[in-house]
């Protein structure tokens, strides 16, 4: 029952997108959606702080149950609504292990591939940036992408990130691949990742939860030369 569910989220937040994909996949799309503005620092509002004292989104409430931290929300949704919607965590031990591993590994993708260079640009003034540091960030980014390209290559065309089917691992990883594309990164150098991106971007749950402001404005070119 999604009418007693509230999700506080911000447009462009990968972690929020993870939770929203899972809500859609579990057939809970009629949750109460509370979009907050990062620019207006609404994630630090009393309303959000009441759910998440860290003043971070996603912040989620289901009746009297509160869950923060995107991976925790995703796991909670799968466990609580196991028998409805898409099965996001396989029962088979080997399959489940792989899905759990990739879901947790998606944090590496987020930090090293999606945000390695981006964070550096966002947090360091141009005059304080060094060529050496930028090269290091670029190297880390590409090494991480090669790892995931390898995962997909091994699984073959048309597969999802942890096997044949769409799982929690895809919900956790895809938002950060999409972030790279949004910021102008040329994904075609990684053909399996590029195919995977094309496959998943049109999935109904993904389309339904895409960052609204991304639809209205063209992609950036921040990462085009990375």
């Amino acid at each position: 029952m999604a009418s007693d569910m509230i999700l506080y989220w911000g447009s462009g937040s990968g972690p929020c997108w993870r939770a929203m994909i899972c809500l859609e996949e579990k057939g809970l799309s009629d949750y109460t959606s509370k979009l907050i503005s990062f620019d207006n620092k609404e994630h630090k509002s009393d309303e959000v702080l009441k759910i998440n004292p860290r003043g971070q989104v996603p912040a989620f409430q289901h009746g009297n149950v509160i869950v923060n931290e995107s991976l925790a929300i995703c796991l909670y949704l799968e466990n609580t609504f196991k028998s409805q919607g898409t099965k996001l965590l396989p029962d088979d031990p080997a399959q489940q292990a792989l899905v759990l591993q990739r879901a947790v590994e998606s944090q590496d993708f987020r930090e090293k591939a999606a945000y390695g260079v981006l964070s550096y640009f966002m947090r360091t003034k141009p005059e304080d940036r060094t060529e050496a540091m930028l090269e290091e960030k670029k190297k880390t980014c590409h090494e991480e992408l090669q790892i995931w390209e390898g995962y997909l290559a091994k699984l073959g065309d048309g597969s999802h990130i942890a096997g044949k089917n769409f799982t929690l691992a895809d919900a956790c990883t895809f938002p950060f691949i999409a972030t790279l594309v949004r910021m102008g990164f040329n994904l075609s150098r990684y053909p399996h990742l590029a195919k995977y991106y094309d496959l998943v971007k049109d999935r109904p749950s993904v389309k339904a939860s895409s960052p609204p402001h991304w639809k209205d404005t063209p992609n950036k070119d921040t990462l085009k030369d990375i």
């Binding site: 004292p53 909670y76 466990n79 489940q96 947790v104």
Partner: protein, 226 residues
């Protein structure tokens, strides 16, 4: 059956310690324990890379099932051995949500503490960036009161999510031990956490994973100013 389980681990690795706690809690203590030497870079050996191509520990195998990433291993163990040992993830939705959230939240402590540790460890004292250090100390000083507050809601003798030991404790206690190892003045600054830490440290599962070299050598005092 833990005779067909192998865990590659390193002394002082907090993620490895989490897994070792869970193995003992789930009554799987006779797993094959493979201690690697970080000094000799054994985590990059062929033997480990075969299990974890990232060349990281913990690297875990259960029969044919491979699981890497400590959070994934812990969740896998709880799901696969639900009916034996300690129940590390409650069935009650509200409690489960809290455990999953705190479990994921402990990463905040590790990220902030590690940032400080690595900066001071890798940089000569005369090159320590006082601005950066100050920033990191502040971040940790703002993180820990959240945990003190989480714990103080419950009475004396409780665990981090209430009356039972769960995944959240398996993840938190090693992180607190890491802070103590670096001389964080926990008793003075965070008395609830200190008393919790002292009590839960004695738990057999926690003792089983205590980094061997910590018993013989003092830690650095990098966190004494937090």
């Amino acid at each position: 059956m833990s005779s067909d389980m192998t865990l590659y681990w390193g002394s002082g690795s907090i993620p490895c310690w989490r897994v070792m706690i869970c193995l003992v809690e789930k009554e799987l203590s006779d797993y094959n324990s493979k201690l690697v030497s970080f000094e000799k870079k054994e985590q990059k050996s062929d033997e480990v890379m075969k299990i974890n191509p990232r060349g990281q520990v913990p690297a875990f195998k259960h029969g044919d099932v491979v699981v890497n990433e400590s959070m994934a291993i812990c969740l896998y163990l709880e799901n696969t051995f639900k009916n034996q040992g300690t129940q590390l993830l409650p069935d009650d939705p509200s409690q489960q949500a809290l455990v999953l959230q705190r479990f994921m939240e402990t990463q905040n402590i590790m990220d902030k503490a590690k940032a400080l540790f690595f900066h001071r460890f890798r940089t000569k004292q005369e090159d320590w960036d006082q601005g950066y250090v100050g920033e990191k100390i502040k971040a940790l000083a703002e993180e820990l009161p959240l945990w003190e507050n989480y714990l103080s809601q419950y009475g004396e003798g409780s665990f981090i999510t209430g009356k039972d030991f769960t995944l959240a404790d398996a993840s938190l206690v090693p992180a607190l031990a890491y802070l103590m190892r670096m001389k964080l003045p926990m008793k003075e600054r965070f008395p609830c956490l200190a008393s919790y830490y002292e009590r839960v440290s004695d738990r057999p599962s926690v003792q089983s994973g205590w980094p061997p070299h910590w018993k013989d050598t003092p830690g650095y005092d990098y966190l004494k100013d937090v």
